[in-house]
Amino acid sequence: MFNKYMILTRDFRNVGESGRLTGFQVKIRIPYYRGVTLSLVDKIDLTVDGEAFSMEQMTFSAGGRTYNFNDLAKTTNTEWAFGEPAILTVSKPGGLASGMHTVQLGIVIRKSYIPHSDPENLFDFAHTTLVPFLQMREGATKTMTLV
């Protein structure tokens, strides 16, 4: 859901310190119909021009604070708000070259629709029909220019 809105063109840029480029930033929005507590942001994968970046190479900034993915998993009192851009800051010494880049993004949100524990077998109807769709990776690809 909202896959076409996940990757924002605006503010796509390199970042650095003391004159050296250390990486780049891309703004992203949630592919879901509500905001979620940060701990529910389960996985993010990012590939730029075929080069894949792991979650360990990124930080996630939302609501004016920056988290690495270990912190994100433990944050249960703050949300990634619905429709609100978060910033992925990706470590890449030298940054990205000026020009056109193809950005591929995948996000998995942990959704609690059907409990794992079902001692009374109340949710038998859901295990084959519904559950496979709940932890789906939502993906998007966008080609955009870095100046």
Partner: protein, 358 residues
Amino acid sequence: MTRRELLKDMAAAAVVTNSGGLTASQAHSGISPKIRRGVSLYSYREEFYTRAMTLEDCLSEASSIGAFGIEMLPEENVPGFPNISSQWVDQWFAMMAKYGTKPVTYTQFQDTFLLRDHDFTVTEGVQWMERDLKLAKLLGFRNLRLLIGTPVDVIERSIPLAEKYDLRMNVEIHAPCPIDGSVVERWVSIIDKTKTKHFGLNPDMGLFNMRESSADRDKRICDGQLRRSVAALVDNAHASKLPVERAIVELNKIDATESEMAYLQAVYSPGGQDIQKLKPLVPYSHHIHAKFYDMTEDYQESSIPYDQIIQVLIEGGYDGYMVSEYEGQRIAQDAFETDSCEQVRRQHVMLKRLLGEV
């Protein structure tokens, strides 16, 4: 091609499901004062997400169509959730007063998988529920919508809290849940056993989705999976109750592709359940989701037979809100533009007619 042009080209298709028989209002002459119209702001989520509409715009729009009962997902519309500022609460009530709207249902999400290392224990689940009961109370809501998969022991343990805050927790019966299945029986048995007024049901009318919606059809066409002529043939065959075997023969004659056969199967294999089975659940129901996918220009919902549904609700003595839940943009994304406000408006023209308001 715009979707309007596409629909014009398809005039021959004439998708009408609400044909035949009396409308609920004809059958019951007079208005149904107990069934009130509302909207879940979920319906406007795409416009809210892209910031084309603010929360105030959504409330103003709901008010302007007489949909005064508001359901809201706080995690969609409330800035800073779950840390809601007192200034924001003041603004919320000021907007309610300005537009004559009423907070009816707070859409709760029991995030049982919140923590990475374990699923919520019952105690943690009840604490999460209490957080939302308090926030719903703060915002003046009367009901909490519970997710279908809210663990039953968490619900049972939360009933005293719902009584304390005087809020009704209503668990949503949502497709593909069988309306007469074991989980529904379990919920009803809790209500019967405890005689509580603070736990009930929230049926979603997507349970009665009788055929693939016209929005799905149009997406298939836009995606190049379905020729317009074939779609029209299938729609006409279905509308005129041509048996599926004969429809398959007709499609084979014109060398229909595999994906076109899949459309035929989708139209002919309804997932919709027996609407009469809703009737015994009406006395337990405190809130209804008027789910819809696509309202046509002549104010018909292409897949959910609201005339039959409203008749059952009136006969069952339903006393509460029916709130719009527009789902079509979810189907349409990337295929064509949708206008959530126009779609909800069309549904309310239909609801007013069926409820005898006109």
